[in-house]
């Protein structure tokens, strides 16, 4: 039986360092990106990676990479507290989204021809033991086919197998493949976790997969309204409360309005209400689901993965603030981009 007491104590300490509404307010009031960076450096745990870097011209990808690698230092510290291999694998799977994010960023740079010039140390810190082989070689790939080839033999090879025969510039296929693979890997890992964590986290992951499927389906239908059979390659073939039949029925709706009505009648109708800001709805809903799981299952990994989620949210919020400040948005507009 895993002892969650020590782990929860560590999580409690780390959670105390998360930015609160007051901290965000202090950032929102600033006028320039260097000011925001300087203020951030003063917060607990941000000084190491942000101090000393060039503050002028720092761009979104760079700051997000820095923040994520900073968070991974804490994440790796958390993993050292977990001795049960299946639980460790389960918690590690919740970090996969960041690694998938890295791969998507690299895919984008390869396909669009924008060379990744820095941040290799941060990328390596995030990928950790999930080696991608020759990282500089991967970055220098001429096209998506070469990128896929260089991932052969790594954990991500099967994620990139989908669409390998397609035209090499099909970035959407590559990203969809990564997302589906991530969800399925996460689901499998939760299934192998110790019972108390499995019981706590299966509903959480299942809910996220269900809502993610609905969001992807909505976007695909908005972009490609007359090709319902083509949507399935972008959906996760798993579900918690939304079975495949219900998802197929949603895919077969003829208009977006019908789809919205179908979503409203689904178990997630009360959560996915703003179809113009579905990502925000998802994150807000997941915040509540993680909180309920954490409170209801203290003796499980739920508090831990909740912390991981909140930390990921913090990265998103900080990055959004920096971008809002860069573009000179007003306070109210900035607040609209934050999720607390």
């Amino acid at each position: 039986m895993t002892d969650y007491g020590g782990l929860n104590a560590k999580i409690g300490a780390l959670s105390g360092r998360l930015l609160g509404p007051g901290d965000y307010e202090s950032l929102i009031g600033l006028r320039t990106v260097p000011e925001v960076v300087l203020r951030l450096v003063g917060f607990e745990g941000y000084s190491d990676l942000l101090g000393g870097i060039g503050q002028d011209g720092i761009h979104r990808g760079q700051i997000e990479g820095r923040l994520t690698s900073l968070a991974f230092r804490d994440f790796n510290g958390i993993l050292t507290y977990i001795t049960d291999p299946s639980l460790r694998e389960c918690v590690s799977a919740f970090l996969l989204r960041h690694k998938v994010g890295i791969l998507k960023y690299l895919i984008g740079s390869v396909v669009n021809g924008h060379k990744v010039t820095g941040g290799l140390a941060e990328i390596r810190a995030i990928l950790g033991k999930d080696s991608v082989g020759d990282l500089p070689g991967l970055i220098d790939s001429a096209d998506l086919a070469e990128f896929r080839g260089r991932l052969r033999g790594t954990r991500f090879a099967s994620a990139m197998a989908a669409g390998a025969g397609l035209p090499t510039s099909d970035i959407q296929t590559a990203e969809a493949g990564l997302d589906v693979w991530h969800s399925m890997t996460l689901w499998k890992s939760v299934g192998k976790a110790p019972k108390e964590s499995r019981d706590a986290l299966a509903p959480v992951v299942g809910a996220e997969i269900d809502m993610q499927n609905i969001i992807w389906l909505y976007r695909l239908k908005a972009s490609f309204p007359s090709a319902p059979k083509g949507y399935y390659s972008s959906l996760v073939p798993l579900g918690r409360r939304l079975r495949s039949g219900a998802l197929v029925a949603m895919a077969e709706t003829r208009t977006l309005r019908e789809l919205r009505e179908a979503v409203a009648e689904s178990p997630y109708g009360g959560l996915l209400t703003d179809f113009d800001r579905l990502d925000r709805c998802l994150l807000t809903a997941m915040g509540g689901i993680y909180r309920d799981a954490s409170v209801g299952h203290r003796g499980s990994a739920a508090p831990t993965v909740r912390y991981l989620f909140r930390r990921g949210l913090e990265i998103r919020n900080v990055t959004s603030i920096i971008e809002c400040v860069r573009y000179g948005l007003g306070r109210e507009e900035m607040l609209a981009h934050l999720i607390c």
Binding site: G113, H114, A161, T173, V180, K229, L235, P237, L247
Partner: protein, 645 residues
């Protein structure tokens, strides 16, 4: 040392790019970068892509090269030396004439090879479906049902199962799963095959074209039966090809080689290879909207100077050579320039990671420290000689440079064998003391720690130098591996020595001056840095908590120094254990008569050499990577890889 690199830009009219590549770029070691990516702010740049006009001729020449008798010794080198005199047209003409001569003779061979390739591709196509038992001819004859053989990613198959399989129009037969792919056949009525095809296409199903006949013979029977028959045919074809090869080579020897000579053919082939490589280099260049090319890359300073001098009189190109510290997107690559004596130890440095361009190359440091520490831990004249000779033998037989490491460390083991007086475990009066004697233990251990302290101080000095190169002045001054750290650590060592040698009063004064202040600077380096940059929020939270955390940090730094220093005790410990193990060997070899059994002595030596040798090698490497590199070395460099020509 790391070679000084220069960033070069070459520009000129785009119709001149081949000449410039062939005349200049191909003759120097230049790591070309993709120009379009290097210059993202330049609008309208396009890469110079396109088929290589020499690819086909070169492939043909390479195939025909196998028909010629072996070229005389030195012909290939001679061909390379003579290449500049043979242009593209002449080379192509040579190849064409040879091909004409061999045309008739090799047509039979080509035919056989074509048939063989047909069998091979049919077997490869049918192999994944070999476990399915169905009549191939039967399904090929379906009128109202269409089908497709192929594979899809297993992940997509799960999507198919979840969302689509219940569709009654489709039947999917699973054949085999190989890696990330699942092979199978789907069937659907002809009337809706287009729709089903698009469904499977959206799930990334890759169709496998299955032939209905091979080499004029219709395929029938089950896939496994077809594969069996094709394999038999393949065996027969391979035998026929071997025979046809022999006949062709005889003809080439009789007619082809006499007509124009193997050497001339090699010249032409070499010329084509050169032209092909030069053309491939074009893909690194970029074309501007006004028909100029730009090519960028890295080369050594000496190469850049020679290239500048050579191109100075060429008015069709502009060459600009800039320093490595110019603000550009690429990091300068690292090319090590190590003294020959130290070069084998590059192996360890590369294992950790190449130094980045602005770091100090630690190879010489590793060579010296590794050799000395290994020698101390494996001190024996005889065993060191064996190691040295074994390394030399491997180097001479296999040309493996890493074997030279064994030579060097073996030599040092011999030297320390003389110091400690040991020859295959037999003691003699050495230059210093015997590790096996009880009185020597403390001395050896203390000297080991002393050597470790010295090495740590040198490592910190390297870090200071690295910080200076990177202009990280705060780290250079206040980091535990910076100036404050080396003063603090040096003072601690001095205090220990003074106390040991009976001067505690002086030790106290040293402590006050050179321990307290540097420790304070190290512990408060973050707030000091913030104060210098004009910030007021020098700490977060309460002052008490901040002070507590600072004290813990100071304790951690001190503990780190202590543990790193004490880690070097293992050097003395292995020296002692080596001597002790040989002592045991001789004890076991003594028989009832008092003499030593030579077989036991030899076997004991072999065992100790193998065990201790391996252990010592690993332990010294650990000291290098953790206690030394951990203080000053990051190793994030990228290797200089000039374009291969």
């Amino acid at each position: 040392m790391i070679e000084t690199m220069k960033y070069i830009n070459i520009m000129g009219p785009v119709d001149d790019v081949d000449r410039v590549i062939e005349r200049y770029v191909s003759r120097y070691d230049i790591q070309l970068e993709r120009t379009a990516r290097e210059l993202p702010n330049e609008k309208g740049l396009t890469e110079l892509t396109g088929p290589n006009p020499y690819a086909r001729a070169l492939a043909e020449a390479d195939e025909m090269a196998g028909l010629l008798p072996p070229a005389p010794a030195g012909a290939r080198e001679g061909a390379r030396a003579r290449v500049p005199s043979m242009g593209a047209e002449e080379a192509l003409e040579v190849i064409r004439r040879f091909s004409e001569h061999m045309g008739e003779v090799s047509s039979n061979l080509s035919g056989l090879r074509g048939r063989r390739d047909g069998c091979v591709s049919a077997i490869a196509a049918l192999e994944p479906f070999s476990e399915l038992e169905f009549d191939f001819e039967l399904i090929m004859g379906f009128e109202f049902i269409r089908f497709a053989f192929g594979r899809m990613p297993t992940m997509n198959f799960k999507q198919f199962e979840a969302f689509i399989y219940e569709d009654s129009e489709i039947l999917f037969v699973h054949a085999r799963t190989v890696g990330d792919y699942l092979y199978g056949i789907y069937f659907a009525p002809e009337s809706c095959m287009d729709k089903v095809d698009s469904i499977f296409s959206s799930l990334h199903f890759e169709k496998t074209p299955i032939p209905t006949s091979v080499n004029g013979e219709e395929l029938s029977g089950s896939p496994s039966q077809i594969i069996g028959r094709l394999r038999s045919e393949l065996d027969g074809l391979n035998a026929s090809i071997v025979e046809a090869d022999r006949a062709t080579m005889e003809e080439a020897h009789a007619g082809g080689a006499g007509a124009m000579g193997a050497a001339r053919f090699e010249e032409a082939r070499e010329a084509l290879r050169r032209l092909h490589s030069c053309h491939e280099m074009r893909r690194y260049a970029a074309k501007t909207p006004n028909d100029f090319y730009i090519m960028v890359g890295w080369t050594t300073e000496s190469s850049a100077r020679r290239l500048e001098a050579e191109t100075a009189g060429d008015d069709r190109l502009v060459l600009i050579s800039e320093g490595a510290n110019v603000s550009i997107l690429s990091k300068p690559p690292t090319k090590l320039r190590t003294l020959r004596f130290f070069r084998p130890f590059e192996f360890f440095v590369r294992m950790y990671g190449l130094p980045s361009y602005d770091e100090i190359d630690p190879t010489a440091f590793v060579a010296v420290t590794y050799s000395i520490l290994f020698g101390m831990m494996f001190a024996d004249v005889g065993q060191g000689a064996v190691l040295m000779l074994a390394g030399l033998a491997i180097y001479l037989l296999r040309r493996a440079r890493t074997a030279l490491i064994a030579c060097v460390v073996g030599f040092h083991s011999m030297a320390f064998g003389f110091v400690f007086g040991s020859f295959f475990g037999m003691e003699f009066d050495g230059l210093w003391l015997h590790p096996a004697e009880p009185d020597s233990i403390d001395t050896i251990l203390l000297y080991s720690v002393g050597i470790g302290a010295f090495i740590i101080i040198v490592s910190i000095a390297f870090n200071i130098a690295n910080s200076l190169r990177k202009r990280a002045f705060k780290d250079m001054l206040l980091h535990p591996n910076g100036l404050a750290g080396v003063i603090f650590y040096g003072a601690l060592v001095t205090i220990v020595l003074l106390t040991a040698y009976g001067s505690p009063g002086t030790a106290g004064k040293v402590a006050l001056a050179f321990v307290v202040l540097p420790m304070a600077l190290m512990s408060f380096r973050e707030p000091i840095g913030k104060l210098i940059s004009g910030r007021r929020d020098i700490y977060k939270g309460s002052f008490g908590l901040f002070l507590f955390e600072t004290l813990i940090g100071a304790f951690e730094v001190t503990l780190g120094y202590f543990s790193n220093t004490v880690s070097f005790v293992r050097v003395g410990a292995f020296a002692l254990s080596h001597a002790s193990m040989m002592h045991v060997v001789f004890m076991l070899s003594r028989g009832a008569g008092g003499g030593s059994n030579p077989v036991t002595v030899v076997l004991g030596n072999v065992l100790v050499m193998a065990l201790e040798g391996l252990l010592v090698a690993i332990q010294v490497l650990r000291l290098e990577f953790y206690e030394m590199f951990g203080r000053f070395y990051e190793g994030g460099g990228r290797e200089f890889k000039p374009v291969e020509y």
